[in-house]
Symmetry: C2
Subunit: 179 residues, 2 copies
């Protein structure tokens, strides 16, 4: 049941980062006292939500074979499915002020950066820095999550949208005006 509490907290805090603890408790169908017993302070709750998301990413990361050439496609597809839990990590303001969290987030980026660097020998452009490509991927993910939450994009369409847009761009195949 504590799991459901964290998930509810995730979506409530994501929708309104200034939501009070009372709001979170009510949304989770739980007393504010109970919430306080699990997470003695607001900072503790936020940290728990973030760590939960990081655990989720770790579990996904383990399932991806980073040695395969289509590892990125696999990773993106799996990350899209995670939705708000991970979006929280990239969106919640002030999260990077927690040193421990910042460390975990950077550690999460590292293998992907390595993968990108390696693939820049084959299927990825060499004229862009790896970090820019990584953040472009994140931007695509965030884009998809937002569209899904607004009901504009079907969750099952999302991976294809993100991958095709990030990899091939929005220009039509014929128009190659690389400047």
């Amino acid at each position: 049941m504590s799991v459901h509490l964290l998930q509810t907290a995730t979506s409530v805090l994501l929708k309104d980062p200034t939501a009070s603890l009372g709001d979170v408790a009510r949304a989770a169908g739980v007393g504010r006292t109970t919430l306080h017993k699990r997470f003695p302070t607001r900072a503790a709750l936020v940290r728990a939500v973030a760590n939960d998301a990081l655990d989720l990413i770790d579990s996904v990361s383990c399932q991806v074979d980073f040695d395969r050439d289509d590892a990125i496609e696999d990773l993106i597809t799996r990350l899209v499915a995670l939705g708000p839990r991970v979006e929280f990590l990239l969106r919640f303001p002030g999260l990077e002020r927690d040193a421990e969290l910042r460390t975990r987030i950077e550690a999460m980026d590292e293998p992907v950066l390595d993968l990108i660097t390696r693939l820049q020998g084959t299927k990825l452009r060499r004229d862009l820095p790896a970090w820019w490509i990584l953040h472009t991927l994140y931007a695509g993910l965030f884009n998809a999550w937002e569209a899904i939450s607004y009901g504009r994009l079907a969750p099952l369409d999302a991976p294809r949208f993100v991958l095709t847009t990030v990899f091939e761009g929005v220009a039509s195949a014929g128009a190659t005006d690389r400047t």
Copy 2:
């Protein structure tokens, strides 16, 4: 001098959306009373900052000839230069709850959406919805602003990065694995 106040408020609130009015006033080198005299309430300040950003966009929008085929490139290049003032519009939480602001934001999107739809006849892909392409552009902008604020990206490089990435994608030219 009021202009400088709004710009300071923009960057302070962007860095920390929960910053107190005292923080804003101090950052602007002005008394909290003075701030209150100009903007009687916090909501009024936020609205003023947002409207300032929208005015800025309007003034840019007027300079772009939406009939030209390279209007998008022109628009993006100009928007990148605006930086945090516009980033505020896309980032600040709860901004869309103000009906008047939401209207202005949608009105801002409209001509760009029309342009995208028109260009889908020529240089833009037809197999993606116009709104998706629009949001991909925004995501690229946001990406660049963030990289600039972290000092990773030179402002003068930004337009090229955004345009080439959004239009052509991150895949190397040879790898055309359109699924």
